[in-house]
């Protein structure tokens, strides 16, 4: 039951985001979607990723996006978007539908057996242990990447270099 409610809110948030003209309304709809996704993660016994989703995605990345939107301060005239032509619409919708159908076809062939999980599944210790043993190189590379991103952002956003 909880799955259906959370799934409904995540899809609702996504649909609202891509249909609202004002990007700020879209951003708040995306926050709703992200928090619902976090709930879905918690339902899938992924405690650490649930907390990370709320902390990092909904709590920091979306605040950054909302901040930027408020900083840009777009008035409604600048938000007008020329509608996509009919030919393009039809082609793209057909492609999307084919893609979705292909995904669903592939997914429906997976076995749906539920394997048992231990009580420590999804805990911080488990993720940390995996990350520092098997995934050590990606971990270090991601930290270097984030450092480069920080330096890059500071450089990009300065008015005078």
């Amino acid at each position: 039951m909880a799955f259906y409610i959370l799934a409904f809110f995540s899809v609702l948030g996504g649909v609202l985001m891509v249909t609202r003209r004002n990007p700020l309304s879209g951003a708040f709809a995306l926050v709703l979607s992200l928090v619902s996704l976090a709930g879905l993660f918690a339902g899938l016994a992924a405690e650490f990723v649930f907390i990370l989703q709320v902390l990092v995605y909904a709590g920091a990345i979306m605040v950054l996006i909302i901040f930027t939107i408020m900083l840009l301060n777009l008035n409604p005239i600048e938000l007008y978007e020329a509608p996509v032509g009919r030919f393009h619409t039809v082609v793209l919708v057909v492609l999307c539908a084919i893609g979705l159908a292909a995904f669903i076809q592939v997914f429906s062939q997976l076995p749906s057996a539920v394997t048992a999980i231990g009580p420590d599944f999804g805990s911080i210790e488990g993720v940390g242990e995996l990350m520092l043993t098997r995934y050590l190189y990606p971990f270090e590379l991601v930290s270097v990447l984030l450092l480069v991103a920080i330096v890059g952002v500071v450089l990009l956003a300065k008015k005078v270099i």
């Binding site: 899809v11 429906s108 999980i117 990009l156």
Partner: protein, 102 residues
Amino acid sequence: MGEITIHHYLYLSAILFFIGVYGVLFRRNLIVMFMSIELMLNAVNLSFITFARYSSSMDGHVIAFFVMALAAGEAGVGLAILVMVFRNRTTVQADDLTLMRD
């Protein structure tokens, strides 16, 4: 209501992914395109976590963690570029950025 199986989560992930694809293809506002990319990344995260749950291995969690970290870095850099574009062109519509076209 029936049992919630892996298929439910995967269908939801596919639907969210394609909502994101619609946002990137059909919306011309750069910010909305950017947020649609974030939605796509989240749909993929859901898919990773689902597979981790149904095969009892926590590799999916670690990969989802990396995806989140990468999305954070991408958000920072993407928004910085967006702010610079806005400063120079005072527009956030993808259709108006035609400087390099023919």
